[in-house]
Symmetry: D2
Subunit: 367 residues, 4 copies
Amino acid sequence: MKAIAVKPRNPNSVHLADLPKPRVTDVPNGRGVLVKVLKVGVDATDREINDGLYGNPPPGYDFLVLGHESFGIVEEVGPSVRHVKPGDYVTCTVRRPGTSIFDRIGRSDITSEETYFERGINLLHGYLTEYYVDDAEFVVRVPPALKHLGVLSEPMSVADKAIQQVYEAQKRLLVWEPKIAYVTGAGQIGLLVTLILRLRGVEVFTIARGAKPSLKAEIAEAYGATYVSTQSMSLTELAKHTGKPDLIIEATGNSAIAFEAMSVLGHNGAIVWTSITGGQRKVEVATDSINLNWVLGNKLLLGSVNANYRHFESGISDLAQGEIFYPGVTQRILTTPVNGLDNYQEMMRQLVDSKEALKVYVNVAEG
Amino acid sequence: MKAIAVKPRNPNSVHLADLPKPRVTDVPNGRGVLVKVLKVGVDATDREINDGLYGNPPPGYDFLVLGHESFGIVEEVGPSVRHVKPGDYVTCTVRRPGTSIFDRIGRSDITSEETYFERGINLLHGYLTEYYVDDAEFVVRVPPALKHLGVLSEPMSVADKAIQQVYEAQKRLLVWEPKIAYVTGAGQIGLLVTLILRLRGVEVFTIARGAKPSLKAEIAEAYGATYVSTQSMSLTELAKHTGKPDLIIEATGNSAIAFEAMSVLGHNGAIVWTSITGGQRKVEVATDSINLNWVLGNKLLLGSVNANYRHFESGISDLAQGEIFYPGVTQRILTTPVNGLDNYQEMMRQLVDSKEALKVYVNVAEG
Amino acid sequence: MKAIAVKPRNPNSVHLADLPKPRVTDVPNGRGVLVKVLKVGVDATDREINDGLYGNPPPGYDFLVLGHESFGIVEEVGPSVRHVKPGDYVTCTVRRPGTSIFDRIGRSDITSEETYFERGINLLHGYLTEYYVDDAEFVVRVPPALKHLGVLSEPMSVADKAIQQVYEAQKRLLVWEPKIAYVTGAGQIGLLVTLILRLRGVEVFTIARGAKPSLKAEIAEAYGATYVSTQSMSLTELAKHTGKPDLIIEATGNSAIAFEAMSVLGHNGAIVWTSITGGQRKVEVATDSINLNWVLGNKLLLGSVNANYRHFESGISDLAQGEIFYPGVTQRILTTPVNGLDNYQEMMRQLVDSKEALKVYVNVAEG
Amino acid sequence: MKAIAVKPRNPNSVHLADLPKPRVTDVPNGRGVLVKVLKVGVDATDREINDGLYGNPPPGYDFLVLGHESFGIVEEVGPSVRHVKPGDYVTCTVRRPGTSIFDRIGRSDITSEETYFERGINLLHGYLTEYYVDDAEFVVRVPPALKHLGVLSEPMSVADKAIQQVYEAQKRLLVWEPKIAYVTGAGQIGLLVTLILRLRGVEVFTIARGAKPSLKAEIAEAYGATYVSTQSMSLTELAKHTGKPDLIIEATGNSAIAFEAMSVLGHNGAIVWTSITGGQRKVEVATDSINLNWVLGNKLLLGSVNANYRHFESGISDLAQGEIFYPGVTQRILTTPVNGLDNYQEMMRQLVDSKEALKVYVNVAEG
């Protein structure tokens, strides 16, 4: 069967590979789930792997199948599998457990090991192919009513984990409830975070470079947030206007913004960094002032990455709520379909070049 | 009665003031506690107030009595007071509640208000005098067996709060248990944090500039920690040697070190900043790299300041444990007594000039 | 305007009362919300108040307007109100805060005071009337897509609080995740709890007296639960079949069942009692055996009642998820509409006599 | 070497057995710790095993060495052992891990498995012998200053776990702080719980059958608690006097008292059952009333048993605090020493017959 693959560490090596179709028995103890792939989203990680920046093939291969944002339909399950059955729509987690105590409790997303095993990223083939098999432990059901949003399950899981982590960490304050949040960045993560925070009753300011009108601004505002272009107002000016925020979610990956955000946070507030770039930039930071404000205001900064089974579940739950509270909005993120695995060059071109694309994804099959 | 006071915002205005002796009835509803002051510690905050950097007098006064680290003996209590009685040794919290939700649950240490009411610091007279009266709500009992350490109650409460906050925040990771901790700074807070972490079974590296032998190094090692001089090894080199730490407590107030520490923290690790300087320094920071490592490692940074009733209690409990697990060590922090309120110039001189002083404190009265 | 009221402590005193229409300015500081009532649900509490068992009129009245399960549409808001606006569908919480620390943090549902102020139950008029005004703090928005389920907001809030409390309490076990839950009782609370647990991925056995087929059984099974009639299998037999449950939610109010359930719970398991009767029954209990199993198995029992703003919000969120995961199921609980306040006798008759009614509610107005 | 053993399931089979001296290499990977036994406490569990009620020998043996409350001195450690060294005083945990998720995170005390592996109780030899070897993971250091109390480490660990569990569970209430606690039972667990709660600042009423004066009453009152004899006042009468308690710790093992205590608990309160009897008693319980009060008051009941490494550590910390806050009190619990393993009959006689014994323990060796 066909698969979109790269030769890791070889820039621009994206190509069509051939793999044997997997069997449900490839997973022992009757726990296999065979999934027919329907849609796969791609993001900056796929682009950077194709740029040769990181990623490794599975043992015994010289290529790595891309794709970690999957949506498909179950074709067959092993005899021990109970929570999904043929015909169910599903998504699948990305990272596989190592051996740390966190891995042993089903939380490989916070593994303390240095080597990650991640489908489509490192040491395991991804989902940009026709079929895959995995252990039922990693396969998450998507209700039919969310079929049109299923390909957003993985980015939504990452957004949900970030928000859950900060609410958990802020329980240190016993009665903390954020009133005002800033979301820096209005890409897919920024917009999905905007949705999650709106569902939790928070007043949200979604902040990005581009001026209105724009699709990003429209989506943010359809979620009931206020869109702010940094061309018209800096973070500092905005904070004068709104009062200092209780929560900031950084989703630009621009480290200068990540640190600038530290300067406008309110007392007892929290920042979550969710995005990165692979760069080596150094920036002059007002270290004395940030140090002082962080201490006197009992503030908190958190990094968050990846997601596990429970975050996929809660992410899907939040997509569900989104359809009831803001019907029809989330699907507007799905800007840029590419039809068929054969169109891998077009997929990569959209990913690299398109200014308008909020989400590039491949329609692998009908279903 | 005598009191050591300053004229806030007037550099080097420390002087001897005169106040009427307070009465237990100054606090309404029978909740007053009249305390005879025995010892009062001073620290960088007192020095900076005398430098004119911050601090405000109480309404109706043009001077502010200094001193927020108190130890005394109860002389009289109002009829509603149950948890202390005349003859009890006591300490007293520093900040008084405002009106935020945190203040209303007894946690003024995390008030979300901008104005603090703090005895000896802002808008309320301090303890560097002969007697004080306060509401029983703020008066904390010290057992007689800790009489010799009572003047450390306030710094210990601050150290305890910082550690409690980070353990609470790290519950986001469900099963986090730090194995290796770095403490940067070996002043009183650094050493007390060293003690607390040792009591929790953590392997501690206490890191400061000075080379061994030194009193700081001796105390850290008597607590079972390893003392490391940055003259012999940088944080980065140390991390290569020990493995990246799970926890870093920053107690130098040097913002360059505060940010440098971010670069050596391990996965899922946490840093607490506990100290500040009043400067305006800017430093070039490897922002891309810190951003990336913070996200991929799910790391956490916390600021912590002040302490409340429960932290004073747990601080005193930790001093008690210290006496059993490391008998006779903690009192070595009490390097520099000054006898009598009249010696306020000597007190300030030791605070400003002494290189050897770990803790300057005034013996106000016998008891 | 019309209102359905009782004379508390006078059995069967239900009657039509007359009240002046409230004004948005009845609430100070511009925080009033004037709501036109659309539907109001009634339950055993209303029946027991009409039986004269409890309840008190507001000061200055000799009658109490019934109804604590409200759904309506906003007609007017004061100038300080931001989170709802005219035309929004809303529900409203039941209990109003006293002065305990729990009341002060927005959690009157766990007040430690003995006297409750509850709309339609004690000391405050209820919602079985044409209009009401309340402080915006207690008014919760319902999205238009849930308009058909809005009258279930209050019972759902109670169900949600119960589940949230037990998950919070079980964090004492760090990594507890229930696999199998029993829900005893298939009235509205039992069925809504079934939904919530199914949304959390738990395998649920909903257990009630009646044999299949029945509407209760159909709803439970449409939520993906297994319905078990106690006529065919006792709790003990069921536990032999399924393994001992990790979680039991008791929603019959039958105290014999409440205690029987304690005997079948698994290690580390938890029971929540959510229902009561006003009786004085005594039952012979295997106290030694329950005591032993509770200790050796580290088990937990929780009582839960009432709900607050955040529980209403999460209850509405769970209703939203229910529409996506199990479309069209929840509305089947709404068995028994009564048209118009004038039909108060019919309302009470259905509440008292109907064997088939899962939910009796009054259609007060169109909207 | 000598050991005190029983033939499980054979009533009154206590005898002196002979075992080879273990070697530090009996534990693989250099993790062995060889401990010379100094003192071993015995309790009702040992008595009931000798009564033939439960307990099993290790595989390959027809006898079981008794003793699970150990205190000793390290003689030798394997090369991988870091946290203890020869000459250190130590105690050792009782239960060994199975395979459940709780066992995998170091919490065998809350294993969800049905079979326990417990030294001196089930399937593993106990400590009533001259030497033992165990994995360093289970060996807990006792500071020399607590040498005289070391034999109380195990019961204190059990008391500490119970208190920690209830404080953790009550975090469901965000700001819960118990003011008044009842401790039912003034045996060793009741008294140690009294100490722990007093150290946390709670007003404690320790309640037992016997009238004052008595050693139990003296110890409770030396901890600052109020001793109440049920001969002079019932729980219900006491609650009228003190107000309903926020917390009750049941340590009689009398199931009638365990259930009676449920009737006097205050709103939002919690009960912990820590003790059991092996009986089959049934008691008539006011089930309707308890059910109603439990629900309306949002109350909680917890069972707690056993303890793990961290509880031993915190238990030892609380013994340390006890020596500072209430010097010399705790050792009064150690009423009844028996000298030498040869005196096993005397040990069992004291355990069975002595009315005055609070704690029977064997002095195995000097050290």
